[in-house]
Point group: none
Chain length 470, copies 2
């Protein structure tokens, strides 16, 4: 993206961010806030703004923010860097790394082919097979980007197998439909399972500051009804919104069976990976009752993959992108936590809450959720959105009288399903978008409609369900 941006435009944006930052920094400190809290906000807001207007990449913005807060003595080094040791941040990093094992050994592809061989008799069946495959493998993939990397080649194969080419206007709709199903599926299955995306544990740790203890099991209990209903209806809705042209694909199950046959029996590495992931999922489920640290579970799984040779050191040497994620996530996570600790979140929360103080909590609940979702037009990363806004919105909701659990879950689920609202709204989207089957206009239209549909189901069905089981 930024490579295509003319240099003067990038410089103008950067200058704008510098002015924005200095303006905030030198503004009189609002009454009720410490100087440190205000300066930290100035740095944090400028960093997020720089990413939103595409003036700086996330990593660069985060590094600048970390350097500035320490060099200006706004935060001590210990506080500014604390989140590098945060178990949640480390879980994100290790989960990214261990997911490579599933991709590399072929297990992910095998599972996908298996599902297609059963459900793939029609285009609609293929779409459902994508959603079902994704739903089944999601809890083992705390990185939905890695999961996209597993689904994408299968979906591309399905599209090409159905004769669909991106540059052929007459055939591209089949591929476009399946690709969008991939993106939409990742958005919803990420809301279904706590461990299906890196953002969820981050969101849970923010919610924990409001007294909510959310486990793998309790998350699934709450998400199951609205998420499964959305998964059941969405392929059909998208089928109507974007008719794929081809409807019946009777040869797809047989093609999948042939490919499975070609793959032969499960390799030693696939067995090891399957056993490791089943053990990890079991351990993650048992983590809360037995006080087992989820990060240590992931580290153990990662170590097993390395000891058995499923992953090699060379595989990890190619994971520089994970280091980038680690750094920006740890920095922004840490700054966000400090912003909270210095009382900024509750301060702004009180201000915003006073705007909603006259309304009844159901009105506040729906309004806050709607504003939170629409805000995602401005974000290129779900993680940054969660870090920047989830705490504030949760705080306001709770202060206005929305039940804590209801507000928290609504925002956490939205943080997953709003990812399709723009093509760059979630990094996992990029893989599917890059295939070129859909125009930018189609992506924005389908994305908004998918997000609105999910929001509707989670509001209308999810709300009473949460209140009932709460």
């Amino acid at each position: 993206m930024s490579a295509a941006t003319p240099w003067w435009k990038r410089h103008a944006r950067l200058l704008g961010i510098v002015v924005f930052f200095l303006g905030l920094w030198f503004l009189p400190v609002p009454e009720g806030l410490t100087r440190e809290a205000w300066h930290l906000f100035a740095v944090f807001a400028a960093a997020i703004a720089a990413v939103v207007v595409n003036a700086l990449p996330l990593l660069t913005a985060a590094l600048l923010a970390a350097a500035i807060v320490v060099l200006t003595y706004t935060l001590t080094p210990a506080k500014a860097f604390a989140a590098f040791a945060n178990p949640t941040v480390l879980l994100v990093v290790v989960a990214f790394l261990v997911a490579q094992a599933v991709v590399k050994c072929g297990l992910g592809r095998r599972i996908s082919l298996q599902v297609v061989s059963i459900f793939g008799g029609s285009t609609l069946g293929l779409a459902y097979s994508i959603f079902i495959t994704d739903t089944l493998i999601a809890p083992g993939f705390p990185s939905n980007t890695a999961r996209g990397g597993v689904l994408f080649p299968v979906i591309l194969g399905l599209a090409q197998g159905g004769g669909s080419m991106p540059e052929e206007e007459s055939t591209r709709r089949l591929g476009g439909y399946l690709m969008f199903c991939g993106m939409a599926s990742l958005a919803i299955t990420s809301a279904l399972w706590l461990t299906a995306t890196s953002g969820n544990p981050v969101a849970v740790s923010i919610a924990a500051e409001y007294g909510l203890k959310i486990t793998f099991g309790s998350w699934l209990l709450v998400s199951s009804i609205p998420a499964l209903l959305t998964i059941a209806l969405l392929p059909l809705l998208l089928y109507r919104l974007f008719p794929p042209g081809v409807t019946d694909t009777p040869e797809a199950p047989e093609a999948a069976r042939r490919q499975l046959h070609t793959m032969g029996p499960m390799s030693r590495h696939e067995w090891i990976t399957a056993a490791t992931f089943v053990s990890m999922i079991v351990a993650w489920i048992l983590a809360a009752p037995f006080n087992i640290n989820p990060t240590a579970i992931a580290i153990a799984g990662f170590a097993v993959a390395l000891v058995t040779g499923v992953l090699t050191l060379n595989d990890i040497h190619e994971q520089g992108g994970t280091l980038v994620t680690f750094i920006w996530l740890a920095v922004l996570f840490g700054l966000s936590a400090q912003l909270n600790e210095l009382g900024f979140m509750s301060y702004v929360g009180e201000r915003l809450a006073s705007a909603f103080s006259e309304v009844s909590w159901p009105v506040a609940y729906v309004s806050l959720l709607g504003i939170y979702i629409l805000f995602h037009y401005l974000f290129v990363s779900q993680g940054a959105h969660i870090l920047a806004l989830l705490g504030v919105f949760l705080d306001v909701g709770v202060k206005t009288g929305v039940p804590t659990q209801l507000m928290a879950f609504a925002l956490m689920f939205a943080s997953s399903y709003f990812s399709t609202i723009t093509p760059q709204g979630g990094s996992q989207n990029i893989i599917f978008v890059a295939a070129g089957y859909l125009t930018q206009g189609e992506l924005y239209r389908l994305g908004l409609l998918t997000t609105l549909f999910a929001a509707l189901i989670f509001l209308v069905v999810g709300t009473p369900w949460i209140l009932w089981i709460g």
Copy 2:
């Protein structure tokens, strides 16, 4: 290395490590130690042993150790993962990343060509130029990790300029020799100047409790003879221990001058990088008096390199190896610190030291120094070693009749020069180790020999010198 090892040999070694680990773990806990301290020692010792006998790569051993200590409730996750946020560990990571800027823009090549054009008539000349440069800049750098961050890109430029690549068995020895010279130089120059490493002032303050008043000048007076002698001989010794393959390069200075001519004037990126590093060096020198965090300085430099486009995100995406280093260093650093905090180090130190209460002082002096040095196999941080053991060993020495000044200086100098005894014995080593020119086996062998050689000179030459000027 490990790829070339037959699988049965690797399995046998791994089995040996498992037996070693379980044997230690289930041994009765020695009186005076907690169960946690003993179990942590079992894990730590097994992890180091696994790496030393080449049963497991460092990353795998560290991951297993981290998983075991947390899953067995030996350490809390917060304590086990704490060092991921340690500013020194982060400084190692960021210093390595920002060093890539010097290499990429060509400045490292230009400086190294400059060095070669003066000293480059022989490989030995290059080695001496490294030691001399380090000796001259050391008193201004209270962080030898930061100093490593300055030396490393130049040494990398020298290695690459000499056609040496880590993965090429035929050429890697030149780079390996120069990299080890960098590590060894940092070890000795840190003993030469009181202000060349953060550990020295800590050691001086411990010695002050025994009535010793040590200043910048008095330290230099005592250290000068043995340290300068070691600096004079060490490049030659390492040259014999690890012949670099290339020896005489009489045409190199002229070729370097020609290449410098071909390079033309400094590019925009080179100017930016030079200005950034000069600023970083000034800030690092001012760090102690003005309480500026050295890690934040490095992060700021890294951010500048990214903002100005000297480094791009793609460059960082290739730095998966840095992630590997980050993970194992943080895990081992954290476990070693906890071993100390749980009282293991001082417990063993006291036991060993009490064994020398009956012997004559010269025997006690040499034995205590030897044990103090060998203890460094268990430490990942020099600072932790000093804090844990220097006081104990000094106390025993003085009680046995060793002159206070002699015992104190011997231990203080050792606390610098023992850093090469393991690859992780000083965080500054990691930057050089990560370049991949040397195998773990070579690092342990050269490290031990270098440490023994330095100890010999400081004993044989340093002892009479201290007694004479004392």
